[in-house]
Subunit: 325 residues, 2 copies
């Protein structure tokens, strides 16, 4: 592997000068530039990002920590984050943790060790505050900021409102909201808040249920849904806080002989691919996942210098009507 030293020898220029043309720093004569370019080609020179990072003491690596990759919301999110990151010339380092605080701390240490230039923290359990005042900026997506970091979330409350309204408009009288993990505080909790508001405004019966964290970790809610439907046989509308949960509601309903949407209407959240694979297709709340991802990346990159920036952006959601309501 050719190094800058080889290019220097090949061209007869000093290492410093060669480095300057690579970085476009200061004035460089046309002749010099051409010499260097020729040598680069000839030697098939590739800069060593590690060495560069060390001397600049900052890398071009963005770290991202998320609770799942297989969950469609997160696989979409990650997909868009990767794309935005790469297009801006950065590389992505990915870590998955199910929200275990200790594990997450270990990952943050990994990020530190690898001198990431920024970190995107997606959902997950614990407060962002604790990792503030660090070497790199962090932006949170759908996560409880509690501190001074920059946060991006969708308008969860509005999403909950839209869901309740749609269910009520379609004639539901006994609603259930399956939104929120027992014992964890997160922006998604606002989904239930909005839902509740609209139910009260319309004097419609409702219950907001939260589920144990294990279900979220394993992505299997069927037993829980079955129990809910059994214990509350007159439920005629369900608001699920993800398309995954909603899909499973459809499955469980079918197994109990309930027709969707005739006997039971359901609304999901996220608007991922699977919303179109169920039968009937899922009515759901659309999250602007792509925009959230892109905003996270560009904010992070913009934050490089002012590490103490603070703020919270709330993105719009919308109702996508399909076949389950």
């Amino acid at each position: 592997m050719a190094t800058i030293k080889d290019v220097s020898k090949e061209t007869g220029l000093s290492i410093g000068t060669v480095s300057r043309v690579f970085n476009n720093r200061g004035y460089i004569s046309k002749e010099t530039r051409e010499k260097v370019e020729a040598a680069v080609k000839k030697l098939n020179y590739q800069p060593n990002a590690i060495a560069r990072s060390l001397s600049k003491s900052s890398s071009n690596i963005i770290g991202v920590i998320l609770p799942h990759i297989s969950h469609p919301f997160f696989s979409d999110l990650l997909s868009y984050i990767e794309n935005a990151t790469r297009e801006k010339g950065y590389s992505l380092m990915v870590f998955v943790t199910k929200g275990d605080e200790e594990a997450e701390l270990a990952m943050i240490n990994r990020c530190r060790e690898n001198k990431v230039c920024g970190l995107i923290l997606c959902s997950g359990r614990f407060a962002t505050k604790k990792i503030e005042s660090n070497e790199f900026p962090v932006v949170a997506i759908e996560r409880n900021p509690e501190g001074a970091s920059f946060a991006i979330e969708c308008n969860n409350r509005q999403g909950g409102r839209l869901a309740a309204q749609e269910l009520i408009d379609k004639g539901c009288k006994n609603l259930v909201s399956l939104a929120g993990i027992k014992g964890r505080k997160m922006p998604a909790d606002d989904r239930s808040t909005g839902f509740e508001e609209v139910c009260r405004e319309n004097s419609v019966n409702f219950t907001c249920l939260t589920y144990p964290p294990e279900l979220y970790d394993r992505l299997d809610y069927t037993a829980f849904i079955d129990k809910v439907l059994t214990e509350r046989p007159n439920t005629d509308g369900i608001f699920a806080s993800s398309d995954i949960i909603a899909s499973q509601v459809i499955q469980v309903a079918a197994s109990k002989g309930l027709k969707v949407p005739e006997d039971l209407k359901v609304i999901g959240f996220d608007d991922t691919l699977i919303a179109t694979y169920t039968t009937p297709q899922l009515t759901t709340i659309h999250q602007p996942i792509k925009e959230m991802a892109e905003l996270a990346v560009s904010t992070l990159i913009g934050l490089k210098d002012e590490k103490s920036a603070t703020g919270c952006t709330i993105m719009n959601v919308s109702l996508v009507k399909r076949g389950t309501t």
Copy 2:
């Protein structure tokens, strides 16, 4: 951020000695070790992986290149790869490319720049051969090796055979295989081969169709499926080369008034989460995704020194019967 220099000062030991205790090289007196440990704690010292990589001229970063993240097969695969990577003490750098050769080359360069210690190449279009003879070993998953790298694939041919057999056992007379991308050679092509074999052995009518690469890139096959079903109205069994395609077959069939499995039987491939979200649930060919991911990672790490290792492991598949056959 404390450096090794600070630890050296704090303990009164030389930098070399401190480094030695971190790396457990040679003999170190108990007293020295304790002093260092105390200093580390006091200063909250964290090693700089970048600096270490530079001096060892090799990092602890594994690179992975894949064509999709949102596709359930790849999100599962990536998920397992991340887990295996992290458990072995490595970090994961993720790149997505839809198989464009130039883009992929650029990503391989990124890996080179970042001095990854190994690369996992998932599916995608172009030959692995071209990136051989490099600084790092590469292992391919579901990809045409064509060169000297190490490859892992599932028994695609057997998968095709199992699918055809199941469809025939259930009484199908006119089969269609939707497996393979037009103009790209990949291990998954063997799915059709096995399918064809069994159809011939049983003298059953069949057609093997390939689809244009754009469909794979966008993950939307509905128009194509619709055309197939319209042009071949007597089709009574479809073998789709992924659960995604199979899900869309179910949707399209419904839109045309075809009942699954009564009028049309369908089998998918992969056995990912979405196979359980369709109605009816998908009969599919199970790929050992987790095992493939883990084997890829451990092989890669084992290959570190013998970069020229060669081989191909073929993993078993099995038929998972659910509701679409």
